[in-house]
Symmetry: C2
Subunit: 217 residues, 2 copies
DNA sequence: CAATTAATTTAGACAAGTCTAAATTAATTA
DNA sequence: TAATTAATTTAGACTTGTCTAAATTAATTG
């Protein structure tokens, strides 16, 4: 079907497309830790296979087929992450690398059965939505905590930064998916925020607030 | 660590080594559906990495390190097969190809946790032993049904032929792992055998009897 | 709007793994 | 034991995915 390298390119293009209409060669190169020249070569290949729309110097976007493939890979990645956390009891900061390998296992039947085995989870351990067998998923309306005003409240529902370091920090502060929080105070000087998390108070920096997403109450 | 191609060579050499001391280039080529010339190239590479002992024209065998790597791949293969059958309810003839992909997932911690999750199974769905975390496993004493005399009995414990066609046939005849059988009669003409399987009688050809393994009662 | 700078592409090379065809070695047999 | 045959290896080529360095195009700015 598609090679491992092709799948990784499609996935990167998909993720980058969430922010910009046309994804640039350099953006892809940065995300994949590769060189722009290598990206150009691969873009030609993916365009030949009609998985992306590509015009020289203009950046790329996914064709409907390309998007379908990308979403299926993301479905696999998130279901395996869910499996690793819920069934094998890994922590949420430990599963990304393993899922990067597992997402390339090809059998669709396997992934559909895994989905059923876990009773069709809607979100992966980081709060990201898990596409269903047809590639459909609903995005919940989320905002970075940094955009909430004093006295605003909500439920922690996702993260922007998926790095182990950030996830470990959140875990330690008990700022995990599903927790209800309320903004108690915003320090004007550095925009750090004081939160009420259940019956505890925590102060978080602006950077943390930018990377932590909540759904409205 | 090792590439996918290297892992597949090591696994093949391991399996072929069960029958012969030194494995030949052609044997490996046949098993991997590749050409002898390609095998020679790879053998040099594996010898450089000290995973096999290789002398030109003399065939190869695994070094202790190579064997350890091979057994670990086999552990992964068999644990994933067990998972697919016991947890995802695939049939025993459906899991081989999927496990061929899954056995290359690298994390040892993952596989140790999977092992624990399934409560340390001793055998995969085809009766093959699953090595433990240290690579140890016990081989039970098994014989092809064709070597048993009239009135001999035992428990079906393994297969020599792992093809889907053979496994499907056995399933249909209810000749599955764990079933107790007794030889009722041997037809001299073609060496086919009549078996008592629980409260049914079944006749199997010599070829089937050769590929079906039982443990002594 | 011409000149500079930044982004992208092209050209040519390389490593891994494979192949075919030819050469070499080992094994078999007359 | 010499000749034939079978197995294996070598030589040279190809594909995939990558790289560096040079060339080209687009964007920015004086």
């Amino acid at each position: 079907m598609n090679t491992l390298a092709e799948e990784n390119y499609l996935k990167s293009i998909y993720h980058l497309s969430l922010n910009t209409i046309n994804v640039s060669t350099n953006q892809i190169a940065a995300r994949l830790n590769t060189k722009a020249a290598s990206v150009t070569d691969m873009l030609k290949k993916l365009a030949d296979k009609e998985l992306i729309n590509y015009t020289r110097y203009q950046g790329v976007n996914l064709t409907p087929t390309g998007e379908k493939v990308a979403i299926h890979i993301i479905r696999k990645h998130r279901l395996w992450e869910y499996f690793l956390v819920e069934k094998l009891h890994f922590k949420w900061d430990e599963v990304h690398e393993m899922a990067e390998e597992m997402e390339h296992i090809s059998s669709k039947e396997l992934i559909d059965r895994l989905d059923k085995f876990m009773d069709y989870p809607q979100h992966d351990p980081h709060g990201d939505p898990i596409p269903d067998s047809d590639g459909h998923f609903k995005t919940q309306d989320m905002k970075p905590v940094s955009e909430i005003a004093v006295n605003g409240a909500g439920v922690i529902s996702g993260v922007r930064d998926h790095s182990a370091a950030f996830l470990q920090y959140l875990e330690k502060q008990q700022l995990t998916i599903g927790k209800k929080i309320r903004i108690t105070e915003i320090i004007e000087y550095d925009h750090s925020m004081i939160l009420q998390v259940e019956n505890k108070r925590t102060q978080i920096s602006r950077e943390v607030a930018d990377n932590l997403l909540i759904a409205h109450d």
